[in-house]
Symmetry: C2
Subunit: 347 residues, 2 copies
């Protein structure tokens, strides 16, 4: 438990016990010395049943549970992932993140140092985008009734796009862009989970990151955004299917134009995965009117982290509700929703 940055040992316990969720002295100490020390927002310090914030205008609200396994992976952990995932859902609503609430479901026996590291990386990711954690909750379940830590997060954000973004705004003729190579997050988590050595298969880091800079760059470039979606569970192919159904349009995808890093492609082959269905946690799928596509691409490519942005397809009137993928051999196939998933517990 020795740590120069933490002068006071934050608990006499080394592991989570049921009492940490019990409402008594042990829980109050955990909240004071771990959560408040890391998050330190005034509304939290008031230690009331909730926060009161002043708002006006359009408020975006998103929520997600995070159950990623393992808890720590190359490029992040469940704490930073919960913030990035929340931020990116707000970004997809055209919003800049403002406040966040977070609840933890801890399994008895979790090492408190592990929890402190997760909470620390959560706090750091929140600070990075100016997000204040205004309310929280902690529950503890018995050993074998949870899996280390689950995090549920709700994000609030101020809408900064001129109009609402929504699948229903997508129109035939729109261009489809991605903000960078796909599949890095899923592959990095999967290899870490399976304990596959980096030496054997290459060097993999999750793409998990905030996409707020990308939203800002697109707005600064004056692009008319139709819809944004982050391709998490189910990857790019699933997001395109969701949009095709919701907007009642077809989507034409140019297989060869989809950026996939060579290492990721190789690892997917090794693992028997299709990279089009592998989760990203730091990418956006961007729908813009065709005339705005060059400006959108240029703005993205000038944004750190999105140098690899690419145009990958177009929205069509034909094949409403379907995604048609064209291979470099000239063949076309329906890129359907999978029944289940390739990768459980990726986020």
């Amino acid at each position: 438990m020795a740590d120069a940055s933490c002068p006071v040992p934050f608990s006499t316990y080394e592991r989570v016990v049921l009492a940490h969720g019990g409402g008594g002295r042990v829980m109050h100490r955990l909240i004071d010395e771990l959560f408040l020390a890391a998050f330190g927002a005034d509304p939290l310090r008031a230690q009331h049943d909730g926060a009161v914030i002043e708002v006006s205008g359009l408020l975006a609200v998103t929520t997600d549970a995070f159950t990623v396994r393992p808890l720590v992976f190359p490029g992040g952990d469940i704490g930073s992932l919960a913030v990035h995932g929340t931020v990116n859902d707000l970004v997809c609503c055209g919003a800049t993140p403002t406040q966040m609430t977070v609840s933890f479901i801890l399994e008895e026996g979790l090492a408190l140092e592990r929890l402190r590291a997760i909470v620390g990386s959560m706090a750091a990711a929140a600070r990075e985008v100016g997000l204040t954690i205004v309310a929280g909750d902690t529950k503890v379940v018995e050993r074998g009734k949870g899996d280390g830590v689950f995090i549920s997060a709700t994000g609030l954000g101020r809408v900064i796009t001129p109009g609402p973004l929504s699948p229903s705004r997508v129109r035939p003729g729109d261009a489809v862009l991605v903000t960078g190579p796909v599949g890095d997050h899923g592959v990095a988590v999967m290899l870490e989970r399976e304990g596959l050595s980096v030496d054997t298969v290459g060097d993999f880091v999750s793409d998990a990151a905030s996409c707020l800079p990308q939203l800002r760059a697109l707005l600064d470039a004056g692009v008319d955004l139709r819809c944004l979606r982050d391709p998490t569970r189910g990857g790019l192919a699933t997001v395109l299917n969701e949009i095709a159904r919701a907007a009642e349009v077809g989507v034409h995808l140019d297989d060869a134009a989809v950026p996939v890093r060579a290492e990721v492609r190789d690892a997917c082959e090794l693992l028997g995965l299709d990279p089009l269905y592998v989760a990203c946690e730091g990418r956006l799928v961007v729908f813009v009117p065709e005339p705005d596509a060059p400006a959108a691409l240029a703005a993205l490519r000038a944004t750190p982290g999105s140098e690899g942005a690419a145009r990958v397809g177009a929205v069509t009137r034909e094949h409403a509700g379907l995604v048609m993928a064209a291979s470099s051999f000239g063949t076309t196939r329906v890129l359907d929703l999978l029944s289940g998933e390739q990768l459980p517990r990726i986020c």
Copy 2:
């Protein structure tokens, strides 16, 4: 799976499988046929990454995870409890509930009929208070990595009190009221969990309910509310300790004045519990200036469900940070925070 109220079987599965959280066809079907069918709010139907709502003024924000065991208990289930708990935290912020987000962490193997019942009672409890469920998420974890279903809920509400409610507003001389007998929720859940027969120990029903009528009654009566708190985990004694610490005041509790139903007192004796520390899920602790106490009590007692409201103590300048309980024998003791808890997973 036959149910006259559900003409379409909502899934070809009878139990939750990992694919229900996988982002693919099976998950979409669960969302469409179970969650949207029950919650049916327009923002949810848009099936975007979040909702956009128009707001202005003071917004209350609360969050909680619910891990109660068993999932169903006399008087409610984890679904209705998640709504009542969220509503009551908003009420404690002086707010009327408006929107809610909810995320589910499901364990592989959970019966879908069980889930449908939980979601149904959640929807009913939300309708009762005019709460719209605007965003949600579902994750599935492997068998043995969860416990049926965990729910995390975040509530948004419009502040309707003239000023903010907060522990820091509590003053020496204030009266302390409770809105009804304490301990019913904890005892009902505990007896159900332990499988103790109702015939043996009496008839127990959780008090879980929305406390919005009580807030409205107090405001209609023109009472100057200092602070409201719902005595959930750790019960009345814990809430009084939290307020005493946060407001840097003492609290004098009159043991004999605390309403506890005789059956609850008997069951607590049987289970070795102190009812002052047993959770309620439909009660408020109310702090008002002494001159307002009679009007507050009268308003509460005229509100269905709070006929048993009582004045239980007063705020003192002495013993700052402590709760002093006076017994009917004239003795006084410090009513301290417990170290851990009497009852794990009560909410």
